[in-house]
């Protein structure tokens, strides 16, 4: 298990591994939005929580098809399925590795980009907290989508269509936490719901992902 995590992290860091793809996409969104919307601080402050969460979500989506596609192409997935590890554990580790190279860096980068979008002062802490709590759900749900479409040639479009609706609750509650936090309101309810989505997804979806991989390899 630990060997798989280390391998996946190492592969992501090496040339062509895709680390930085999500980050640079997130950066581009945050840089381009003020250019497109205009420099008015009041407008930007209003849309900043939503834009930052949408940027993080799409950046996450962009890197999903790497979770299983490369392992499927070179035959590693066959070998992982026959390895002495539960497949549920394998897909969980893959989701964790995806979060460590995507969700976690996005979370750490987000406050910097918040400055570009004039995010109000009290919102920064909530932005980091909401992304920290919410992005694991994006990785786990995304792993499920990737598992459903593994083996399909150019299944990226289908995966996006499958995954996006599942991302909607995370987006709504995640952005709501930041919005309320930025305005100084109570954030307990959306934060609890966000945590609930993450915990529920992490508890249930690995079983669905493993079943989907098994069926797709058959």
């Amino acid at each position: 298990m630990r060997a798989l995590l280390i391998r996946d992290l190492r592969l992501a860091m090496r040339a062509g591994g895709g680390f930085g793809l999500a980050l640079s996409f997130f950066l581009l969104v945050a840089v381009l939005v003020p250019l497109g919307v205009g420099p008015e601080a009041r407008v930007l402050a209003l849309i900043a929580p939503g834009i930052l969460w949408i940027g993080a979500l799409l950046a996450c989506l962009l890197s999903l098809d790497r979770i299983f596609a490369l392992d499927f192409e070179d035959g590693s997935l066959d070998l992982l399925v026959t390895a002495p590890m539960p497949l549920e554990g394998v897909v969980s580790i893959k989701a964790l590795a995806h979060w460590l190279v995507t969700g976690l860096p996005l979370t750490l980068l987000a406050p910097v980009l918040g400055v570009l979008l004039h995010l109000p002062g009290p919102g920064y802490g909530w932005l980091v907290v909401s992304l920290l709590v919410g992005t694991p759900a994006l990785s786990v749900i995304g792993t499920f989508g990737a598992a459903l479409t593994v083996g399909l040639r150019r299944g990226g479009l289908l995966m996006s269509l499958l995954v996006l609706p599942l991302y909607v609750p995370t987006l709504i509650f995640g952005a709501e936490v930041v919005k309320r936090g930025a305005l100084g309101f109570d954030t307990t309810t959306p934060l609890l719901l966000l945590a609930g989505i993450t915990l529920g997804a992490a508890a249930l979806l690995p079983f669905a992902s493993a079943a989907a991989v098994r069926i797709n390899l058959r």
Partner: protein, 218 residues
């Protein structure tokens, strides 16, 4: 350890290709599967390795006893030869030793990234994974593809050592390995009746090409 297969039926893409297949393979023995392209050698090996479900029949060994090596080697191009093998060793709870690298003549290549290897060298790396898996039954699909004569010799020596150590090997191959202790199983008598294979061989293709030269596919 003995593999006993009784009345096995396997299907590829929902079409039954082999049925009524029974054989046994005891420790220290090797069995070579023979049969024309498309008869279901790969499907049979994948079924035994647990990647597919058998349509009918039973086998005495669980997939956990088998080390499967298919057409793809499961090599990560950006990892070095040693890193690739160390990963699979860790997954199977063994350690990579110099003897393993030596057995497949990989010692000089250990620190090279796998993407810079030739096709034959990659194949040797793929076969070295069997040695670190520590599993008793090797299930090999065309193991000698892209190997030169010297490398085939290394492979045969590795199989011999594995058999001498109480292991067993089941392989599909078209070439003569010079393995005296290997029995040969011809799959032709177990071809499923009414399956897709016969339909195609009897002109299933030809019918679709109106006006083509008669017998072009025969």
């Amino acid at each position: 350890m003995e593999l006993v297969v009784r009345d096995l039926a396997v299907a590829r893409g929902g079409v039954r290709v082999l049925e009524g297949l029974s054989f046994s393979l005891s420790a220290g023995r090797a069995l070579v599967l023979r049969g024309p392209n498309g008869i279901g050698k790969t499907t049979l090996l994948r079924t035994l390795a647990g990647l597919q479900r058998a349509e009918a029949g039973e086998m005495s060994l669980p997939p956990e006893a088998m080390a499967y090596a298919g057409h793809a080697d499961g090599i990560k191009p950006t990892l070095s030869v040693a890193e690739n093998l160390e990963f699979w060793a860790a997954v199977h709870g063994t350690v990579l030793t110099g003897a393993v690298l030596g057995a497949m003549d990989l010692a000089a290549l250990a620190d090279r990234p796998a993407q810079s290897l030739s096709a034959g060298q990659k194949r040797r790396l793929g076969l070295a994974r069997l040695l670190v898996s520590g599993r008793p039954l090797w299930v090999l699909d065309e193991p000698t593809i892209s190997l030169d004569a010297a490398s085939v010799g290394l492979f045969v020596a590795a199989v011999r050592a594995h058999l001498a150590g109480g292991g067993a090997a089941l392989m599909a191959t078209h070439i003569d390995l010079g393995l005296a202790e290997a029995a040969v199983l011809d799959l032709a008598p177990f071809r499923a009746t009414g399956g897709g294979f016969d339909g195609i061989a009897d002109g299933g293709f030809g019918g679709g090409f109106d006006g083509g030269p008669a017998g072009a596919f025969g």
